[in-house]
């Protein structure tokens, strides 16, 4: 017998300009993420499955549902509007710069002497903080005597759960060589016999070896909510890569002010290659670290 459902019920109407403006306003306010007019269809496509699941005919109905039941639906909304494109060993030159060119300065001014506190904001399913952890372990000679801790948070609680699980498919490992995969991961036994589906979806899963999971703490959090940055000492470096590119102007401003609060003076902020905060804050100065750009919080 075969179960499951086929969503043959009519698809929701197309998203009108008014509905797009309303939903984008709400998403921007809550999560900072912006879906401008040219991304209306993208937003429509992301929300459509949820409207179908709730059997709502119009996007306005979904907006009203969000207004009525903000907290309950918020988790789903966060899952649908976040972009979880990430993989291990992405743009590693920033990690190398942190653990090489910037290391002495960072250690000298560390918030907790003998420690290095790092944060991955918008970490999705954990590929970035785990890669950072792998690089830190590989730099053990340079880091001798320094205790490294990495905190990581993401808006999407389901992604945080995946990060804690630390099990990945080929997609997440696409930038790794077979040797790197073998060194850092263990192939998990297949839970099901091969089938058409498992074959075409790449069913094989790899677990990150336990040694590379230690020292990394995950929690759900929102860049726009400062409580997500925790109550501990200030961070020595914050990574927030390829997240701000989706933010609307006010949210961008708020996010940068949160990074400034979360970092100790002299602490470093690393953004994605296409992102910049120049002109947005006078609390950061741009510096060049080998072949990468970073933003250093002013003051010592």
């Amino acid at each position: 017998m075969t179960g499951g459902s086929m969503p043959l019920t009519p698809r929701p109407d197309v998203m009108t300009e008014e509905e797009h403006l309303l939903l984008n306003e709400l998403i921007s306010e809550r999560f900072g993420i912006n879906f401008p007019e040219h991304k209306r269809e993208l937003l429509e496509a992301r929300l459509r499955p949820r409207l179908q699941a709730l059997r709502l005919p119009r996007y306005l109905d979904y907006y009203l549902q969000l207004v009525c039941d903000g907290e309950g639906e918020r988790e789903f909304l966060a899952q649908m509007v976040t972009n979880n494109e990430t993989f291990f060993f992405r743009e590693t030159h920033q990690f190398e710069a942190l653990l090489d060119a910037a290391l002495d300065d960072l250690r000298e001014g560390a918030a907790l002497p003998g420690s290095l506190r790092l944060l991955s904001a918008g970490c999705s399913s954990g590929e970035e903080p785990y890669t950072l952890g792998i690089f830190a372990r590989q730099s053990f000679v340079r880091l001798a005597g320094t205790h490294v801790t990495i905190d990581a948070f993401d808006l999407d609680a389901s992604r945080i759960e995946m990060a804690r699980q630390a099990e990945y498919t080929q997609t997440s490992l696409r930038a790794l060589t077979p040797e790197q995969i073998e060194r850092h991961f263990t192939l998990l036994p297949s839970p099901a016999p091969p089938s058409f589906l498992s074959a075409v979806t790449g069913f094989d899963r790899w677990a990150l070896k336990p040694a590379y999971r230690s020292g990394i703490q995950f929690h759900p959090g929102n860049i726009l909510d400062f409580s997500s940055f925790g109550l501990g000492p200030a961070y020595d470096a914050v990574f927030c890569r390829n997240v701000l590119i989706y933010f609307a102007e006010p949210a961008l401003h708020l996010a940068v002010s949160h990074f400034a609060r979360a970092l100790r003076p002299g602490g470093l902020l690393f953004l994605g290659a296409a992102e910049s905060i120049i002109g947005l804050s006078d609390q950061f100065e741009t510096i060049r670290l080998r072949d990468t750009i970073a933003y250093r919080k002013v003051g010592r």
Partner: protein, 660 residues
């Protein structure tokens, strides 16, 4: 030339945010001053909002004065960008500015006309080709090219022998014009050190058999001196755009085959594309392997651009379908795309085998031919191929595939199931015991069961299965009417009332209203409130008004209640909505305005006139909606303000009415 006072320094981000917030409450003159300030901020987001607001606020005279302001680049650029944003409304003024004495203003006018792409601009732009300022001529040449009228080719040819800037502009414009007539003069420039590369690109953009022969011959003569990546890329582009296989070109295939071993992937890929587009040959396997290595390149076909698409170089290669289907990874997807294009050239057995044999599609078995593909990538290609297939086994194969798919995949497969409805029904009957009863019923309903048969099928299901079937068959209205909703709601209200409400709203079952009303009075839920509104139930207005009147902390249904009141309308609902618009908390008030806009009569106009400068854009949008509906002289002033609204949706709605 005019000058103005030295511009004040750029406003801070905070000042800009404050200005943007205040903008809708300012007079039109006040808005213009604010927009001038906003335009000085370096943030692209703020600048874009300033420009959009400016498009509705500035007069032509103000904008023209900005264009003349050579002491303030920000304002000059503001004028140019706002004229562009206004689209067709800037056409006439731009024509007038072409005759301006200031060459910088003429240049701006040409740039605006270039942006507008209005064919009526051709003659005026041709007139500018004799302008004394070469910058103006260069911009006019490019603008003429983008208008795409081949009649202007003779005007551009003289510039091929002019100074390098005008020469390059005319080469580009001739490429834009896409007329084979331009190939001959461009060919003469191919060996020019400065313009040769641009001329080759222009010829490639023109395309066609002549362009192919010219570029192929150029390649054969100078392949050792030319940038292989660039020229082969252009040659591939031309070959892929031909309507049929090209006539043989002596030596070309051999020259290209030798490039399949080039160390550069780009060169190898371009050579592979050329070879595959040339037609069948002994190079096919190597060329396919190279193409797979590069991941396709510039694909066509597929649905909505999701998943690997068919590389254009394969578009006419129906002969490759069997070979592609045998290969794992992306080549298999290309095989399905080709099978959809040429259904008679595809062996059904090969298609079924490609879908059914998991081992040969395993990502790790992909080897050197390319990475694995996932289901989302395979299905968009496989479904059109299966839809067009004619074979006795197709029903059984489709049903088997359907049963293996996720809900999203099943939804995507629906067109193929419908296309082979009769065959799938036969397979459904044969495989009845292997299929879940809900799935069987839903599929049967989609494939032609009568409404009575669908209703009987639902009634025969266990209660838990019934719900799943109903949610998927709610659009079979006739069947929904035949179900005993009243008794179900009476027996299991917690389980069935919301479902009854959803079905009633979707299928328009007004006969269920007494049941829904009674349930909503005892236990209101979002589904019940929504259904009463959707069914426009006047009798439920008192009930909804009572729901609105609850203490803070229990008002979570209020947004839905307001919306339903708006849908129902009538004096009582309008009165309650107007009161909520005036006095409810901000979040509810904006929804009350919107709901009232749905059912407003002319008597409600004063409320909306007062709110035309409301700080909330959503309220102003409701105002624009209502005030455009009732054409009264006293609505004109607030509509003019709304037409200059910084939120384009509001401005457009008001402008449409004023223009009408």
């Amino acid at each position: 030339m005019t000058t103005t006072e030295i511009p004040s320094p750029a406003p801070s981000w905070e000042e800009c945010m404050e200005l943007l917030e205040k903008l809708p409450t300012l007079s039109l003159a006040g808005r213009a001053v604010a927009i001038e300030r906003l335009a000085r901020n370096s943030s692209p987001g703020i600048r874009e909002r300033a420009l959009r607001a400016g498009a509705a606020v500035f007069t032509d005279e103000q904008l023209t004065a900005y264009l003349r302001n050579d002491s303030d680049a920000v304002l000059r650029n503001l004028g140019l960008e706002v004229f562009k944003l206004r689209g067709g409304r800037s056409f006439t003024i731009s024509l007038r500015l072409l005759k301006d004495a200031d060459p910088d203003v003429v240049l701006q006018a040409v740039l605006i006309l270039d942006h507008l792409r209005d064919p009526r601009a051709l003659e005026p732009l041709r007139g500018v080709l004799t302008h004394p300022d070469p910058n103006v001529i260069q911009a006019a040449i490019l603008a003429i090219g983008r208008l795409g009228n081949a009649r202007s080719i003779p005007d551009l040819l003289p510039f091929l022998a002019a100074d390098p800037w005008l020469q390059m502009a005319s080469v580009q414009a001739l490429g834009d014009l896409r007329s084979p007539v331009a190939i001959k003069p461009l060919t003469e420039l191919l060996t020019d050190l400065l313009a040769g590369s641009m001329a080759a690109e222009a010829i490639a953009r023109i395309g066609g058999a002549t362009a192919f022969r010219v570029l192929a011959s150029h390649w054969m003569l100078y392949c050792e001196q030319l940038e292989a990546e660039e020229v082969l890329g252009l040659l591939a582009h031309v070959l892929e755009g031909l309507s049929g296989l090209p006539a043989p070109f002596p030596g070309l295939a051999e020259s290209l085959t030798s490039r399949l071993g080039d160390p550069s992937l780009e060169v190898r890929t371009s050579a592979a594309r050329c070879l595959l587009a040339l037609g069948p040959g002994e190079w096919d396997d190597d060329a396919l392997a190279t193409l797979a290595e590069a991941g396709g390149i510039g694909g066509i076909g597929g649905t909505g651009g999701i998943g690997p698409t068919l590389p254009p170089s394969l578009a006419r290669r129906r002969d490759l379908i069997p070979r592609l289907l045998e290969r794992p990874g992306e080549p298999r997807v290309w095989g399905f795309h080709l099978a959809a294009r040429y259904p008679r050239s595809a062996s059904p057995e090969a298609l079924f085998a490609a879908l059914a044999n998991p081992a040969s599609t395993a990502p790790r078995a992909a080897g050197p031919t390319g990475p694995g593909v996932d289901l989302a990538e395979l299905l968009p290609a496989a479904i059109p191929a299966l839809t067009r297939l004619r074979h006795p086994e197709v029903g059984r194969q489709l049903l088997a595939l359907h049963l293996r798919l996720t809900p999203e995949g099943r939804s995507a497969l629906e067109p193929a199931l419908r296309a082979h409805g009769a065959e799938v029904q036969v397979a459904l009957a044969e495989m009845a015991r292997e299929i879940d009863p809900v799935e069987r019923l839903v599929l049967g309903a989609r494939l032609g069961l009568s409404e009575r048969e669908v209703a009987d099928g639902i009634l025969a299901l266990a209660p838990d299965d019934r719900r799943g079937a109903i949610t998927r068959l709610a659009d079979v209205t006739g069947a929904m009417r035949l179900l005993p909703w009243e008794s179900w709601v009476a027996a299991e209200p917690d389980r069935d009332a919301d479902l009854a409400a959803e079905v009633a709203a979707a299928a328009g079952l007004r006969e269920l209203l007494p049941t829904l009303r009674a349930r909503a009075a005892r236990q209101p839920t979002p589904a019940l409130v929504r259904a009463l509104g959707e069914l426009r139930d006047r009798e439920s207005v008192p009930l909804l008004l009572a729901l609105l009147d609850v203490p803070p902390g229990r008002r979570e249904l209020n947004p839905l209640v307001l919306e339903s009141l708006g849908r129902i309308g009538g004096p009582e609902a309008r009165c309650a909505l107007a009161a909520a618009a005036r006095s409810a908390p901000a979040g509810e008030a904006r929804l009350a305005y919107r709901a009232l806009a749905l059912c407003a009569t002319e008597d409600d106009s004063p409320l909306f006139r007062e709110a035309a400068t409301h700080p909330d854009w959503y309220v102003r949008l409701a105002c624009a909606d209502v005030l455009t509906r009732f054409a009264r002289p006293e609505n004109l002033a607030p509509l003019a303000l709304l037409a200059g609204d910084p939120v384009p949706a509001v401005a457009h709605r008001a402008l449409a009415s004023l223009a009408g």
